[in-house]
Symmetry: C2
Subunit: 360 residues, 2 copies
């Protein structure tokens, strides 16, 4: 039900258009929404916003109902923040920035405030943003004091001649741009700290070969978490953004796919993608660009392009995670090959659709 | 003449197969070489090595004959180092590493020893390597003490579960891997220091808006320089690598396209690319991946895919530079839209072809 239907395909079987694993009850809800969208004039621009809040080992049994409610409420709040901007004719870039800032400010997601800890007990944040029509992009990595990395990524894109800045240099630019800086303690949350302790303990006897930790089953649970947004505004302009604290217990200045344009974040005039998952695989398979390349050169529908890369190419490679993607027509794809992926969608009707598990 | 001809197309006009701007005299030389290659048994594996040594404002009048001779000799030495490995059946990964190490150790190229200076008078080095058959990749950025960044990129790829490491963390990994570290003074060369002084002077009155420097004509000359290599070994395995000191007078921890997999460096089973040029454009247009995507999904010949991206897409966007590319059949493309690009090719015959200007 995350697909915006165009009038001419409404007659087709709705079931065939649903993403993998949609429950029938949920389908009914969105079918109504889809029908109201499709009843709009054909020339009406399709617009909307999709957000991921992290993919990975998110199991029903390990998520309390209080936490689940808080996650869903924050995802809705982020959708709402982006939607308000899009509804009044604002740009997709503003909508993406606004939605991601809310997720960064929440301790519930692995980005900004809720960033996971490195092996050394620090927080190192990465983010990227890209504007489809101009292919302008900004990316930052290895931040320790920037409250909202997505805002710095955007400043790099708009206020510098560069695309990517890292570490202390990037933070010097943040100071020059008068962005909000915080002390390292701002990013300290007890839950993430305990995650690090569990990761260090699980690593245990592997201490002399720490790099093998991530390939062991107990390392798997610590790998994921990223927030993002892709949006299509009323002018038909696509934008994508992603922000993350990376992997719990990461070391050696490890950077994942988020600030790698074409891997975790990408937008052009036809297609925008934000990814969440095991970043190394997303870099090696240039996941975001590959989805858009298949759409552009093979003329595949967005859904098929995204499904092929996430459910086939990445699965064969062993790369766990998912993406959210939007095309220029407002079609949405949200495939994930992990047990769960926090995600949400909001179209012109302003009805939020938020989901965590596969069967939603 | 940088194209390995296959027997079945030998009858076609040689002129039509030559890269843009090849002089007829040079064509004759390579035509002989091509003829000898094409006379090999058809089942013989095509293999070879291509290297770039930087693109940009390389003008005949500003290059002394001594320097030109030294540049050509070092490019030949790098080709030879890779060729020896390929000729004895070694891997493309080893050939790429060996060739790039020689270029990194030379003060003539903007990588390793000859790296340009940042605004603060430091040297910050980036590199990446990728092995096509497995799509394994390693990338490093913001190094200050690693003598051969390409070797660290390879260690990240082979000895860690990660793809990208930056800054001090990456150097800690280099220490753990017992790679050669040097003091910052190792990278101090008088010529690059003078370049920085000229850049600072040219920046002059723009000091309060330093970020506009690069878009001014006087900034253009300081932008480029990268070394790299792509190779196809006798088993048909492609690899690509790139190494750079970035842009003279860069600041804020700026990172260009080199360590961004899919932008400046990329290899898969069909296609390998190493880029040199104005990195920001190469990131935004995911240049290396886009060339290989056009080959993969549009089934374009390598030459056409590379020419389209470099001579059309990048030119329209204003992105100056070039690429070297190899496909699985040993076809070579080396398009560049800048005045010059250091480049060289060596195939099974062991005859080095080295060129700098367009009309070679």
């Amino acid at each position: 039900m995350f697909v915006l239907l165009r009038r001419r395909i409404l007659a087709a079987s709705l079931a065939a258009l649903l993403p993998l694993g949609c429950s029938s009850s949920r389908s009914v809800v969105r079918t109504e929404a889809d029908a109201s969208i499709s009843a709009a004039p054909e020339e009406a621009p399709r617009w909307g916003l999709v957000i991921p809040g992290g993919a990975g080992v998110i199991l029903r049994e390990s998520l309390t109902s209080e936490r689940e409610a808080a996650v869903r409420a924050t995802l809705q709040e982020a959708l709402q923040a982006g939607h308000v901007i899009l509804a009044r004719g604002g740009s997709s870039l503003d909508a993406v920035t606004a939605a991601i800032r809310i997720l960064e400010d929440s301790p519930l997601f692995n980005a900004g405030k809720g960033a996971v800890f490195t092996h050394e007990g620090k927080n190192e944040l990465d983010a990227a943003i890209m504007f489809g029509p101009t292919r302008q992009a900004g990316a930052v990595a290895g931040l320790r004091h920037v409250k909202n990395p997505i805002t710095l990524a955007r400043a790099v894109m708009e206020q510098s001649p560069h695309v990517m800045m890292i570490g202390e240099g990037a933070e010097a630019f943040a100071r020059q741009q008068e962005l909000e800086l915080v002390s390292e303690s701002y990013f300290h949350t007890e839950e993430r700290w305990q995650s690090l302790q569990r990761a260090l303990e699980a690593e245990g006897s592997q201490a002399r070969q720490p790099t093998s930790f991530w390939s062991r089953p107990e390392g798997r649970a610590f790998k994921f978490g990223t927030v993002g947004a892709v949006a299509l505004d009323q002018k038909g302009q696509l934008a994508a953004g992603t922000s993350t604290g990376g992997m719990t217990n990461k070391r050696f200045g490890r950077v994942g796919d988020v600030p790698v344009i074409g891997a975790g974040t990408y937008a052009d005039s036809r297609c925008a993608v934000s990814a969440t998952g095991h970043g190394e695989f997303f870099i090696r398979y240039t996941v975001a660009r590959d989805i858009c390349a298949r759409l552009q050169y093979q003329e595949l529908p967005l859904r098929e392009a995204a499904d092929t890369v996430v459910m086939d190419v990445l699965v064969k490679a062993g790369g766990e995670g998912g993406v959210i993607a939007l095309d220029e027509h407002g079609n949405v794809a949200m495939p994930f090959n992990s047990p769960g992926m926090y995600r949400g969608y909001m179209g012109p009707d302003g009805v939020p659709s938020v989901a965590i598990f596969r069967e939603e």
